[in-house]
């Protein structure tokens, strides 16, 4: 088993974070969707008001990748809220490089995240999984996760910026009417 340790991300990890984010997006066949930059990650994660938190998995030098990378996995999370039960931990992204799977890195990251959630008095942990991603679905279900979309009928929706602008502008037009 390759030795590794899990630690909170530091500002200097942003380049590795972006690399892994793109690798995960590629795995999901969505690589062209990543528009985030290192600068965004730095400002948004390590500025005055962090929008996210990250754990990274690091391996010692003898296990670095051929390209010289020591950070081989990450998990990005933040806190959300349910007015009925309070704080939740939301797992936004979770990825371990292909060649480092099967060593328990993913399980250890999940364990650390759960410890954070319990420590912060979160009632539950939520996250998304693509319905075609059977290995991940099995990984999570084995550990007791429920698929709320299948079980309760929840669907996730998004509204992109151009429609947000239209909505906000229309509201102002209504407001100005007598």
């Amino acid at each position: 088993m390759a030795p590794f340790h899990i630690r909170p991300a530091r500002p200097e990890d942003c380049a590795d974070l972006l690399r892994l984010i793109k690798e995960l997006a590629k795995y999901e066949d969505m690589e062209d969707q990543v528009v985030l930059t290192e600068k965004d990650l730095l400002e948004d994660g390590f500025g005055e008001h962090p929008f996210y938190h990250c754990l990274v998995a690091e391996v010692p030098k003898e296990h670095w990748t051929p390209e010289g990378y020591s950070i081989v996995g990450f998990a990005m999370y933040y806190f959300t809220y349910d007015p009925w039960i309070g704080k939740l931990l939301y797992l936004e992204d979770f990825f371990v490089m292909n060649e480092f799977r099967g060593f328990g890195i993913g399980s250890e990251i999940l364990k650390k995240l759960s410890q954070v959630a319990v420590k912060c008095r979160c009632s539950s942990m939520h996250f998304l999984v693509a319905e075609w991603n059977e290995p991940s679905i099995r990984f999570y279900k084995r550990r007791g996760a429920s698929d709320l979309s299948s079980e309760e009928g929840w669907r996730l929706f998004k509204i992109d910026k151009e429609y947000l602008m239209k909505m906000a502008t229309e509201d102002r037009n209504y407001s100005s009417q007598p």
């Binding site: 984010i21 995960l24 997006a25 985030l36 965004d40 929008f51 996210y52 990005m76 933040y78 959300t80 809220y81 007015p83 009925w84 039960i85 309070g86 704080k87 939740l88 939301y90 936004e92 328990g104 399980s107 250890e108 364990k111 995240l113 759960s114 959630a117 319990v118 979160c122 009632s123 539950s124 942990m125 939520h126 998304l128 999984v129 693509a130 319905e131 550990r143 007791g144 996760a145 429920s146 698929d147 709320l148 979309s149 309760e152 929840w154 669907r155 996730l156 929706f157 998004k158 509204i159 910026k161 151009e162 429609y163 947000l164 602008m165 239209k166 909505m167 906000a168 509201d171 209504y174």
Partner: protein, 218 residues
Amino acid sequence: QGPRAGRSRGKVPLWGRPVQAASLETHPDPCTEQLERSAGWGAPEQSRGLSRTLELGIDPQENGSCNPAQPARGQQGNPADDPVLSEDGFGEHHFYKCLVAEVPSEHRSRDGHTVVGYGLYFFTYSTWKGRNIYMEDLYVMPEFRGKGIGKKLMSKIAEVGLENHCTQMKFAVLDWNRPAIDFYQSQGALDLTATEGWHVFRFESDGMRRLAQGPPGE
């Protein structure tokens, strides 16, 4: 995000007390009633047995407004505020933000309330697109529906998102809620579960504790 543990279809929050408020905007929105159901509030008569008295201290306004909620202030003859909601929304770290819709006193509800709707949201993050705004709850009291209040609350949340450089708004809707789905789609919303196959998963408290305490791996 959004889905809640074993939630029943609807609860009716009890609003604290009558306060001064302002004039309603009145442009009819036939989808408003169904909109509130999108937050999982189907049958108002059902209850989880939890009755949350949410007291929002609001300054009198001259015009119809969707205002940021304020921490509860003591008012003579009114019940105590909810300490958890108070701490989590107005303490050192804001885990959520809230807009409220208030009406003038002459339009107050049958029970004397002038806070008649709310939208609860928080900021999230996308590793692809950066800052997002998440609309967790959207609710308007039944007697005030059909007046565009829900739509206005949602527009205000969109505005907050844009002001904070968010590139997307996200929210969850139950698959049986066709009127709400139709309305959101008319506003440009995209169903990511249907189009991209995203499913919402959850570890509940017990599951999380087992993960936190148990050994790593299989």
